[in-house]
C-alpha cells in the first residue's frame, strides 16, 4: 500500500527542484587527540594520516545517499579537535605546517573545507594558543580549505578583552596577507563567544572535547522552502498563522536532516551527533533568509520590524525542528551572513541594512555579524569594538554569537568584493567613524555576568 499521498510526493520533489531544499552540510568530526608531536611537521604528518583514513569513505557515502534519497547534500566537510588543544607538546612558534597538512587532508578526502585550526582563550591564552593565534594569518594565506576559529568569551568566564584586541589585529594581518584575493583569508576566520562543540557549519566547526572519536553532524538548509510556504499564505494571514506554517515546514526539513544524519552515520560506522537547525542561505537566488523576512512583510531586510520577523522565524524553526529530531545541536539559529545571501546583499546596496541593524538582529539569532566586508583602513580598535559588541550580546544572553569581518585591503565603503562560490560577494559596508580605542586599550577581562551563576 502507498501510505504517502501523491500530493506529498510532489511537494517533496518541488521542495528540492524549485525551492532549493538540500542538506547544507554533512560534517565528519574527527578527534585528533592522538596526533600531538614534538614538532609541527610531525603533528601535521600524524594529522594527515588520521584524517584521510577516517574520512576515506565520507564523500562516496554522501553521494550515494544523495542519489538514493533524492535530496542533494551540498557540502561534505571535516572538523577536527581544536589544534591548539593538541599542540601542547610541540614547542614551536609556528603551527602553519599543521594547517598545510589539514589542507592536504581535505583535498585528499574530497571536501571543500576543514575546520579546527582553533583555540579557546576565553579565560586565558596558553603557549599553544599563543602559537596558534600567531600562525593564523600565514595559515589562512597558505591554504584554501582550512577554517580557523577562536573563542574569546563565554557566559561562564566573561570576555577576554586582551584576546579580542589581539584577534582584531589578527583579522587585519590575515586581510593584508590575502589582499590580492579581496582579503579572503578573513572569510575563513571566526571569532566566537560561547563556541559550541558540535557545530557542523564553517568556518566555525570544531570537534569538541566532549565528543566521541568520530561523529557525523548535519546542517540543514531550506530558506527557499520556508519563503515559498509563507508566500503561499493569504495576504492577511496573521503572525500566528505564519509561525504555524514555518513550524510545519521546519519539521519536514529537519526530518530530511535527521534521515541523512542517521544513514550517513550508519554507513560510515560512526556515531550520529547532531542535526543543526540553522537556516543557512546560499548566494543562489531564492535561497535567502532576507527574502523570508521580506515575505513576512518588511519591504527590505533591515527595515523596522526586521528583528521581530527574524525572532519569529528563528523560534518557529526551532519549535518545528524539535519535533523532527531528538538530537538538536550546533548553532541552531538562523544565519544572516551578508555576502552569502543575495537578499542581504540587495538590502545593503539599497541602503536598508547597516552594521548596527545586523548587530540588533544578532540578538535574536545565531552568528550575527557574519561575512561582512568593511573598509580596509578600519582601525584594529574599531574591529575589536565590533567583535566585543557581538560577544557581549552572546555572553549576556547565554547564547552563541560570532563575528566574521573582512576588512578588505584597499577598499572603501560602497566598493564591491567577491570571493566566489558559497562565500559569495558583497558591498563594503560603512563603519562608525567614532573611536573605540580607549575602551579596547584598557584590556583585561570583562567579568562573567551574574546570569552565569546558576549552580
Amino acid at each position: 500500500m502507498l501510505h504517502i499521498s501523491p500530493e506529498e510526493i510532489v511537494e517533496t520533489l518541488l521542495m528540492v527542484q524549485q525551492q532549493h531544499l538540500d542538506i547544507r552540510t554533512v560534517t565528519l568530526g574527527i578527534s585528533i587527540g592522538d596526533c600531538g608531536a614534538d614538532t609541527a611537521d610531525e603533528m601535521g604528518r600524524r594529522l594527515y594520516e588520521k584524517v584521510t583514513h577516517a574520512a576515506e569513505r565520507l564523500v562516496p557515502v554522501c553521494e550515494a545517499i544523495e542519489r538514493e534519497y533524492g535530496i542533494p547534500i551540498r557540502n561534505k566537510r571535516i572538523s577536527v579537535s581544536p589544534v591548539a588543544a593538541v599542540a601542547g607538546r610541540c614547542a614551536c612558534d609556528d603551527l602553519t605546517p599543521v594547517a598545510l597538512a589539514m589542507d592536504r587532508a581535505a583535498e585528499t578526502a574530497g571536501v571543500d573545507f576543514i575546520g579546527g585550526f582553533s583555540a579557546l582563550v576565553h579565560k586565558g591564552v596558553g603557549a599553544a594558543d599563543d602559537a596558534l593565534i600567531r600562525s593564523i594569518p600565514s595559515a589562512l594565506a597558505a591554504t584554501a580549505r582550512v577554517c580557523s576559529s577562536v573563542n574569546v568569551a563565554s557566559t561562564r568566564a566573561g570576555m577576554n578583552m586582551d584576546a579580542i584586541a589581539r584577534m582584531a589585529h589578527t583579522v587585519k594581518e590575515t586581510a593584508a596577507l590575502t589582499a590580492e584575493a579581496d582579503s579572503i583569508g578573513c572569510a575563513k576566520l571566526v571569532v566566537f563567544a560561547n563556541m559550541v562543540e558540535d557545530n557542523p557549519f564553517m568556518a566555525g566547526a570544531v570537534h569538541g572535547a566532549g565528543e566521541a572519536d568520530a561523529v557525523i553532524n548535519v546542517g540543514i538548509s531550506g530558506p527557499g522552502v520556508v519563503r515559498a510556504i509563507i508566500e503561499a499564505l493569504p495576504d492577511d494571514a496573521d503572525l500566528t498563522a505564519v509561525a504555524e506554517a514555518i513550524k510545519a515546514t521546519s519539521f519536514k526539513i529537519t526530518r530530511a536532516g535527521e534521515l541523512v544524519a542517521r544513514e550517513a552515520a550508519r554507513r560510515l560506522g560512526v556515531a550520529m551527533g547532531i542535526v543543526d537547525l540553522s537556516l543557512a542561505p546560499t548566494p543562489a537566488e531564492g535561497d535567502s533568509v532576507a527574502e523570508i523576512l521580506e515575505a513576512m512583510g518588511v519591504e527590505r531586510c533591515g527595515a523596522p520590524g526586521t528583528t521581530t520577523a527574524l525572532a519569529l522565524l528563528n523560534d518557529a524553526v526551532k519549535k518545528g525542528g524539535a519535533m523532527g529530531t531528538s538530537s538538536i545541536g550546533g548553532l541552531s539559529g538562523a544565519f544572516i551572513p551578508v555576502s552569502e545571501d543575495a537578499g542581504m546583499v540587495r538590502a545593503v546596496q539599497d541602503g536598508a541594512l547597516n552594521l548596527e541593524k545586523l548587530e540588533a538582529m544578532t540578538a535574536v539569532c545565531s552568528v550575527g555579524l557574519d561575512m561582512i566586508a568593511i573598509p580596509g583602513d578600519t582601525p584594529a580598535e574599531t574591529i575589536a569594538g565590533i567583535i566585543s559588541d557581538a560577544c557581549a550580546i552572546g555572553v549576556i544572553n547565554n547564547k552563541t554569537t560570532a563575528a566574521r569581518l573582512i576588512p578588505a585591503v584597499g577598499k572603501v565603503a560602497g566598493d564591491h568584493v567577491s570571493w566566489g562560490g558559497l562565500l559569495g560577494a558583497a558591498p563594503v559596508m560603512d563603519v562608525s567613524r567614532w573611536s573605540s580605542a580607549r575602551l579596547i586599550n584598557r584590556g583585561g577581562r570583562m567579568p562573567a555576568p551574574l546570569g552565569s551563576l546558576r549552580n
Partner: protein, 91 residues
C-alpha cells in the same frame, strides 16, 4: 536486501508512458506494489510504490536504467527510497 522505493513520473501526457516505465522496471525485476496516476491540466503525474531486490539489481542500476528511459520519454522520472517520504511527512 529488499528496498521499498517511490517512482514518480511527471511530464506531458502521451501514449505509452505507463507501459514504458513498467517495462523498464520489469527488466530490472522491480516489483510494482501500488500505482496512483492522474492527469492534472495536461500534466501526467504518476507515483508508484516499488520493491527493488538489491541483491540482484542494486539501487544504482535501477536508478541509471530509469534515467535512460526518462530521457527517451522526455519525462521527469525520479526514484527515491521510501523512507524519505515517511520521515518528512509523518510525525
Amino acid at each position: 536486501m529488499k528496498t521499498r522505493a517511490i517512482v514518480s513520473v511527471l511530464g506531458a501526457d502521451r501514449v505509452g508512458i505507463v507501459a514504458a516505465i513498467s517495462a523498464a522496471l520489469a527488466e530490472q525485476e522491480v516489483n510494482i506494489e501500488d500505482i496512483r496516476q492522474t492527469i492534472l491540466s495536461d500534466v501526467f503525474s504518476m507515483t508508484m510504490l516499488v520493491t527493488i531486490d538489491e541483491d540482484t539489481h542494486p539501487f544504482e542500476d535501477v536508478h541509471a536504467h530509469l534515467a535512460t528511459v526518462a530521457d527517451e520519454l522526455g519525462m521527469q522520472v525520479t526514484l527515491q527510497r521510501e523512507d524519505v517520504f515517511r520521515f518528512m511527512h509523518r510525525v
